[in-house]
Amino acid sequence: MVYEIKLEIFEGPLDLLLHLINKNEVDIFDIPIATIADQYLEYIEMMKVLNINVAGDFLLMASTLVHLKSKMLLPESNDDTVDEDLHNEIVRPLLEYMSYREIAGDLSERDLLERDVFCRQVPLDFRSHIKEEGAPLDVNLFQLIDAFKQVMDRTLPGVQLQLRLEQWSVKEKIEHIITCLKEKGTMLFVQLFVEDRVVSEYIVTFLALLELVHMGLVRIFQSTPHSDIKLTPCFEED
């Protein structure tokens, strides 16, 4: 038997379910759950055989389907509760998904800018024209975040350089920690890093703390796992 192999992309479990329902030409309000569940599992199996990474979402739906199928087969099962589960876990999500999918289809049929229709392109020299003082700014939040990300990404590779310049020395940080502990008595571990700006500074602070513990000047406590780590001084007040 010759098989025609057709590659389909499914966006998710609902997409696959919908495909099976269409393929079997069944009513969404009257889904033959056993058949659909079997076919769904066959697909998942096939994906595994083909070494296609099966996302967790697909497996979750698979277990829901299997659960429903087994419930249905149980002699003492109550039809009403099965129907209710089927409605809540399969039918309703499918209906919702279908309605949004339809909207998505409608959207893509519209005259899309720069696919179907084009607007005027204003020459660059127009854009750089001097603006009035109060002119609004043409910038969005994502651009702002992205700019910050770029700055931070650029800053991090500089870590080694900064260490070599000894912008922060372990000695200074030791003094800083001692000063803080003298002021406050007990401190939380996280408070040590409040003023630190970049990774290299965190590292130096941490090294300083280790050094202090090693010298027996600071003790570290944690009452329970995941609780706050506390630091107490073991030196004389002067």
Partner: protein, 214 residues
């Protein structure tokens, strides 16, 4: 010099790469009142419709813009040497959900689509068709997403009300109510004009999910 109001407005629209609102036009023509401006625009629209040129004056995203007719797209794409702007089906579905449910949590989009949408959200934010509108008053203060003016521009929509109506969902009853999104109120948030300009676009056909505006 022969300069009718219509032709001045035409020149402004022709020289702009963004849709112009009546207000935008008025800022260049402070003596004109807005009804005269909208009349002039209507006349221009009719004129271009009847002239049957390659472009028309369209109403999009709360403003007006000259746009080419779709049958010329293949030639223009050829000239620009680009492939047409495309959105994947996943992106379109995500946009559809955000458009109707906004302000909406990522988690809710994922519930409706049945899959992770993090990467798609990021792409759509980058493209400027979605934006972060605030945070929901829930543990972790998760971000709420909404559509932008650019969304309307890209999809040739006058406003959010002109989105196609959501059909099936009505028969689904009420359990759908996932609580009301509360956008964080700030102290001193007279986030004035800009804010309200965007807010006017906001609304959905199936009202319940959008009580969040102040």
């Amino acid at each position: 010099m022969d300069m009718s109001l219509n032709l001045i407005i035409e020149a402004l629209l022709f020289a702009s790469d963004k849709p112009l609102t009546i207000l935008d036009i008025q800022s260049a023509l402070p003596e004109e009142d807005s009804t005269r401006i909208s009349e002039a625009i209507k006349e221009l629209q009719e004129e271009y419709d009847s002239m049957a040129r390659s472009f028309l004056l369209k109403e999009v995203a709360g403003g007006y813009q000259f746009r080419t007719q779709s049958q010329y797209a293949p030639y223009i794409l050829q000239m620009l040497k680009t492939s047409p702007a495309r959105l994947s089906r996943a992106a379109l579905e995500t946009l559809a959900i955000v458009a109707y449910k906004q302000p909406v949590l990522r988690q809710e989009i994922e519930r409706l689509r049945g899959v992770d949408v993090g990467g798609i959200l990021r792409t759509l934010l980058e493209k400027g068709v979605l934006r972060i509108v605030g945070r929901k008053n829930l543990p972790g203060r998760p971000l709420l997403y909404g559509t932008t003016k650019k969304f309307l521009e890209v999809f040739d929509l006058k406003n959010l009300q002109s989105l196609p109506k959501l059909k099936e969902i009505k028969e689904l009853g009420t359990e759908e109510d996932q609580g009301t999104a509360v956008i964080e109120e700030g102290q001193g948030n007279e986030t004035g004009d800009e804010q309200t300009a965007v807010d006017t676009e906001k609304s959905t056909e199936e009202g319940p999910s959008d009580p969040s505006e102040n």
